[in-house]
């Protein structure tokens, strides 16, 4: 019954705060604004009081009419309504203006804290949490938090108003007041009932809607194919039932929503009828003044709106609270990578040494066990092996994105845990499979690691990669806009930009995860040329997917289940007929320019 959990997508780092903690945390954000908050609170009371004054004045007017004294007090009452209306507007203005300011400031602070937390989090956090969900915590959830504060103020003012009116009614006639109050549980009960109905029908609608949408997406894509093969009728016949199903589902949901207000309105109407009859009788019997009767009739409509909205508020209010809980969980998530000291690393030579390192993403299931490896400064090492062999794990430990459980990792002979992390990382160039580009121009992206790098430097770096041919192919050269996440560039071009960016960063160690995605051969050649240049003179660890790469590195390390099973260079390993040959047959054989389906196997010796 997975759909029950729909929308309840808890993350690992989520925690439940006790109501008191949550409240205290929320209040701590509002505390600096105490003065303004008090002003707002005062205004809320005044607004409610002046709004409640209008029906009270109306009731006085009716009394005066009945007594025949209206001639004397009429203008006073009119002036009273005018003044009450004007005050109510002014108070409301002051309230809204100040509460917008308070909310704006509080949300800003919360957002800043949340973003700082985002920058603080380890990379393991990002590997585990989809980026969209993190983003929504910083923007949408903080926004929901803002609604909480607005709603709270609205709720208070509505409740106050209902309270004022209730007091007024009880002062006039206890019986009729009780009868009016009878509407309250009915309206609230109905509102809650509808909320439940709406929720279940919405959930059903959403589920079926996502199915309909998925189908629609497919049929839309299918049009082009249908045209290609001239099968329009076939595709149309498929579309019909989908569209009709969508109609049924949404109509049913719409019906539920459309019934709510007429029914609530009907209840209010029935209450009015009751009050006309009972109140009128009471007036005739002399138990009630005409003005009070009028006030009760007004009371129904005054009750009606706040009550329905209070019922609606509650769920939003709870949503807002859980949103703030999510934001605080993001801020409070504990770091996993812990440094024991922050010594400046100085300019690194790039010698990397794993000493008995044990590491598992889940400590119970180590990926690396007592792992030893020495990479000399300036050496180029390729890591190969099946998926899950631990290739990318090694690079994540070197970039210190993950904390290992046992052993030591030495960089230039110094424990990686004692280094100042920012300064250390800035000497590591990491190129992932799909390099990330920031929106802006190509030049902006190349300059990113060193914002003060001059135009000439950027141009030189770009020209050095792949002979600079690729820049000519861009519509505006280095000033080409890369689009959102670099989408305007091809995958190959993005890799070229990442290589140029690496040149500006000038790292001592390069960690490169070669792309498995296919790139056109011309760009591929430029990338290979660029790599030769970028890797020269630096310690390089390449997670290799390209035949041309493994043919040229200093040393190939074959990994299997977190252990080194073979080492050597391409030719030597091929001749040996060991595990490397098996890996070659599986991943690299078909990349050979001479490849033909089913051929080109190298023989694997022994029973491996």
């Amino acid at each position: 019954m997975g759909f029950i959990m729909d929308g309840l997508d808890a993350e690992d780092y989520d925690r439940t705060y006790s109501d008191r903690d949550l409240l205290r945390r929320i209040i701590s954000y509002f505390r600096p604004k105490l003065g303004t908050m008090l002003l707002v609170a005062t205004m809320i009371v005044l607004v409610s009081a002046s709004q409640a004054a209008i029906p009270a004045l109306g009731s006085l007017a009716v009394d005066a009419l009945a007594d025949g004294t209206i001639g004397q007090v009429g203008w006073l009452l009119t002036a009273g309504i005018l003044v009450a209306g004007a005050f109510s507007w002014v108070f409301n203005f002051v309230r809204q203006k100040n509460s917008a300011r308070v909310t704006g400031d509080v949300v800003l602070r919360l957002r800043e804290d949340a973003f700082d937390a985002v920058l603080e989090r380890d990379l393991s956090f990002y590997d585990e949490t989809p980026s969209g969900k993190i983003v929504s915590r910083v923007t949408s959830d903080t926004d929901d938090f803002a609604t909480v504060s607005t709603l709270t103020m609205d709720l208070i003012s509505q409740t106050l108003m209902v309270g004022f009116v209730t007091v007024l009614l009880f002062v006039r006639s206890v019986e009729l007041a009780l009868m009016t109050l009878l509407v309250v549980p009915i309206v609230v009960g109905l509102a809650l009932l509808f909320r439940r109905l709406a929720r279940s029908s919405t959930r059903r609608a959403q589920r079926s809607l996502s199915r309909v949408n998925a189908n629609l997406q497919e049929t839309m894509g299918g049009i082009a194919v249908a045209k290609n093969f001239r099968q329009e009728r076939q595709v149309y016949d498929e579309f019909g039932p989908i569209n009709r199903q969508s109609y049924q589902v949404t109509l049913r949901q719409g019906f539920v929503f459309s019934t709510i207000f007429p029914v609530l309105f009907l209840v209010a109407g029935l209450a009015t009828v009751g009050l006309v009859q009972l109140g009128g009788t009471a007036v005739l019997e002399g138990g009630l003044s005409a003005g009070d009767w009028y006030l009760f009739l007004q009371g129904v409509s005054l009750f009606w709106f706040p009550l329905t909205s209070i019922a609606a508020f509650w769920s939003q209010f709870q949503q807002g609270l859980s949103a703030s809980e999510r934001v605080f969980a993001l801020i409070d998530a504990p770091p996993r990578v812990v440094q024991s000291a922050a010594e400046p690393p100085g300019r690194l030579a790039g010698r990397i040494e794993f000493q008995g390192v044990t590491f598992g993403y889940d400590p119970g299931h180590p990926v690396l066990r007592d792992f030893d490896l020495l990479i000399e400064a300036g050496e180029t090492v390729a890591l190969v092996g099946h998926t899950g062999a631990g290739k990318s794990t090694l690079s994540k430990l070197i970039t210190r994105f993950y904390e290992f459980q046992e052993g030591r990792l030495l960089i230039d002979g110094r424990d990686i845990r004692t280094l100042e992390l920012g300064a250390y990382r800035s000497q590591i160039g990491a190129v992932p499979q799909a390099p990330f580009l920031f929106s802006g121009t190509v030049a902006d992206n190349i300059r990113y690691p060193r914002p003060d790098a001059g135009d000439e430097e950027v141009r030189a770096a770009a020209a050095a990669v792949g002979g600079g041919d690729w820049i000519d192919a861009l519509p505006n050269g280095l000033q080409t806009d890369v689009g959102e996440h670099g989408r305007a560039l091809s995958m190959g071009q993005r890799q070229l930009v990442a290589l140029a960016r690496l040149l500006i960063q000038d790292p001592a160690i390069v960690v490169l995860d070669e792309a498995t995605a296919s790139v056109d051969p011309l760009t591929e050649a430029q990338i290979q040329e660029g790599l030769d240049l970028v890797l020269a003179g630096r310690t390089s660890i390449v997670i290799a997917h390209r035949l041309s790469t493994i043919e040229h590195v200093d040393r190939i390390i074959v990994l299997d289940h977190g252990r080194i099973v073979e080492e050597g260079d391409h030719a030597g390993l091929l001749a040996r007929g060991g595990r490397y040959c098996e890996v070659y047959n599986t991943y690299f054989r078909h990349q050979s320019p001479h490849y033909r389906a089913g051929t080109g196997f190298v023989s694997v010796a022994g029973g491996d």
Partner: protein, 611 residues
């Protein structure tokens, strides 16, 4: 000489497509019963609603006026009120449900109309259209139409009538009472206009800034690895703070504008004025106390449209914009001119490009320039070039998805513009990079091109030739396994082989194959390449590929760079004479490209020595 007739249509009503409003109306008009239910129901409901204060007024008159038997009169009035309230509830419900039906039918019918219209568009149109765009139209814009009716039109009709009907009732009490509501209506309209004018830019800016904040944050989160590894947290923090602060400022400004919403103040002025005026009239004896109470009740009704008016207009606006966008697609003309007496014949497969230049738009740079080459029947030509060099554009000119700007393309010696479009296109098959399969059984997908007419044996044979039989056999229901959204998910390589089987069954003379994604492991690659090898047999093939071996073994290689042909010939020819081509193979030990700097003269002397 052009064919303007739609390629697909269903019987049914035609809708007026001359403008978004007319189009919407032509849809709504088809459901007169619900339309009457909605409009009539709303009207009756509002009228009945306006009667409530009237009767309350009468109740006051009965009680205070002391005419006859006040208790009986009160009882009658209460009964009448009860009837009114019940009837009001009923009509309210009828109106709401009718509008709901209208909204959802509009949604359903508009989607259907859009779909039929899309099926009727030419292949040219669809090859040019992005599926994502169509999807956005079919899902979001059409949904917006329904939202425009409920709650959009619903609220407009409701608040509009609630604004108008009480005025009539007030007039029926005493014409002089119209003074206060009349003045209010005029001032209200002016104030509302001013408010909208102030709010719109602020609200738009606020939305934009929220979007920017979101986009910036999204980018920082997605690029966190780069940020951390280049230690640029400070730069990102500053950027985010600036964005967040800008949004805060807009938020506060927006709050300020909303706080200044004048109509509520005007409304209380109107109420005071109305009371004063009514009291005066009552004192002169022109109206009774009950009428005064009724009048004030009616005035109170005007409060509703005062509150609602802002919200409704934006819903209508969004709906109209959506309708215009949908119409834009349905009325789009993208036909290619076709000769009525076009050449129709079986194609043997010769393709000739003669100095072909092509630009997507007249004012744009040409995507292809002076392209000339000849493909003999049955040859496989590997097209090699960077992204954006014009590879796929070139392949689209052959089945006339686009017409060349200048130059000629000949198929079997006949200019493609002189071919009968149907005859030409039905003999050219395209297998794209992104393969569309339907949520149907495997065999239906393979037989798709023949419209279910293919017999099972032929399907199995095609699957076997496409190296797909093995994995199909491993599926739960074999050839009857449903795939796609409602069934099993297939890997990229499996989809590709199904598409090849589908194309094999239709047996085209010319094949355009985009094979630019490659499998990671050799075993899958072996299967795909065997399937491709099978489908290339006996057809002219334009093969867009990134694989060195496919380039290496193709009959000819067409090397494109920025829309121009750099070289065209066999692998051996190119490796000897083209520096650019040699560069492609330079990083592989297996291919002797000779000393990279040695230049082509040396190589030219030892032709044939290079394999």
């Amino acid at each position: 000489m052009t064919t303007s007739q739609s390629e697909f249509s269903v019987s049914g009503p035609r809708h007026d497509r001359r403008g978004p409003v007319r189009w919407l109306w032509s849809h709504l008009r088809r459901h007169p019963l619900h339309l009457i239910g909605f409009l009539g129901g709303s009207l009756v409901m509002v009228v009945l609603n306006a009667l409530v204060p009237q009767f309350t007024g009468d109740a006051f008159d009965a009680v205070l006026g002391k005419r006859g038997e006040p208790l009986d009169a009160l009882g009658l009035i209460a009964l009448a009120l009860l009837a009114i309230v019940l009837a009001r509830g009923l009509f309210d419900l009828v109106a709401r449900l009718s509008s709901e039906v209208l909204a959802k039918r509009l949604e359903r019918d508009a989607r259907d109309e859009l779909y039929v219209s899309l099926l009727g568009k030419s292949q040219t149109f669809h090859n040019r259209q992005r599926v994502g765009d169509l999807m956005a139209r079919a899902a979001n814009d059409i949904r917006q139409l329904s939202i425009m009716i409920t709650p959009g039109a619903d609220l407009i009709v409701d608040s509009g009538l609630t604004g108008l009907v009480p005025i009539f009732f007030i007039a029926s009490i005493d014409l002089r009472l119209l003074l206060a509501p009349g003045v209010f209506a005029v001032v209200f309209a002016i104030a509302l206009r001013r408010y909208m004018k102030q709010l719109n830019p602020v609200a738009t800016r606020m939305r934009e800034e929220f979007g920017e904040l979101n986009a910036g944050l999204n980018q920082a989160v997605r690029g966190i690895e780069v940020i951390k590894v280049t230690a640029q947290e400070g730069q990102e923090r500053l950027r985010f703070r600036a964005n967040a602060r800008r949004y805060r400022d807009s938020f506060v400004k927006n709050g300020l504008v909303q706080a200044r919403y004048l109509p509520t103040l005007l409304f209380s002025f109107a109420m005071a004025g109305a009371l004063w005026h009514a009291l005066y009239l009552q004192s002169t004896g022109a109206i009774t106390i009950g009428e005064l109470v009724a009048f004030m009740g009616l005035m109170g009704m005007l409060g509703f449209p005062t509150q609602m008016s802002i919200f409704t207009f934006s819903l209508m606006q969004i709906g109209i914009v959506s309708a215009r966008r949908i119409l834009g697609i349905m009325t789009a003309e993208s036909e290619i001119e076709q000769r009525a007496d076009g050449h129709a014949a079986p194609i043997s497969g010769e393709i000739v490009f003669e100095d072909v230049t092509f630009a997507y738009e007249d004012d744009e740079d040409a995507a292809l320039r002076g392209v000339t080459f000849t493909v003999r029947p049955g040859e496989t030509v590997a097209i090699v070039g960077e992204t954006g060099s014009g590879k796929s554009t070139l392949t689209k000119l052959v089945p006339r998805i686009y017409d060349a700007t200048s130059g000629r393309i000949l198929v079997d010696g006949v200019d493609v513009r002189d071919w009968d479009l149907d005859s030409l296109r039905s003999q050219i098959s395209t297998i794209e990079q992104d393969i569309v399969l339907f949520s149907r059984s495997v065999s239906e997908n393979i037989a798709f091109g023949l419209g279910q007419r293919a017999d099972h044996e032929a399907v199995v044979r095609a699957a076997e030739d496409a190296q797909a039989a093995e994995f199909i056999a491993e599926l739960d229901d074999g050839y009857d396994t449903v795939i796609g959204e409602r069934g099993v998910t297939l890997s990229g390589g499996q989809r590709q082989r199904l598409a090849i089987a589908r194309a094999l069954l239709t047996d085209p003379a010319i094949l355009v194959l985009d094979d630019s994604t490659s499998a990671i492991d050799s075993a899958t690659e072996d299967l795909i390449q065997q399937a491709i090898g099978r489908i290339l047999e006996g057809r002219t093939t334009l093969l867009i590929t990134h694989r060195l071996s496919q380039i290496r073994w193709a009959d000819k290689v067409l090397l494109l760079r920025r829309g121009e042909v750099v070289d065209f010939g066999t692998h051996d020819e190119l490796i000897t004479r083209s520096r650019l081509y040699r560069r492609i193979f330079a990083h592989y030990d297996e291919v002797e490209t000779d000393g990279a700097g040695a230049g082509s003269k040396v190589l030219a002397g030892e032709q044939g020595g290079v394999r």
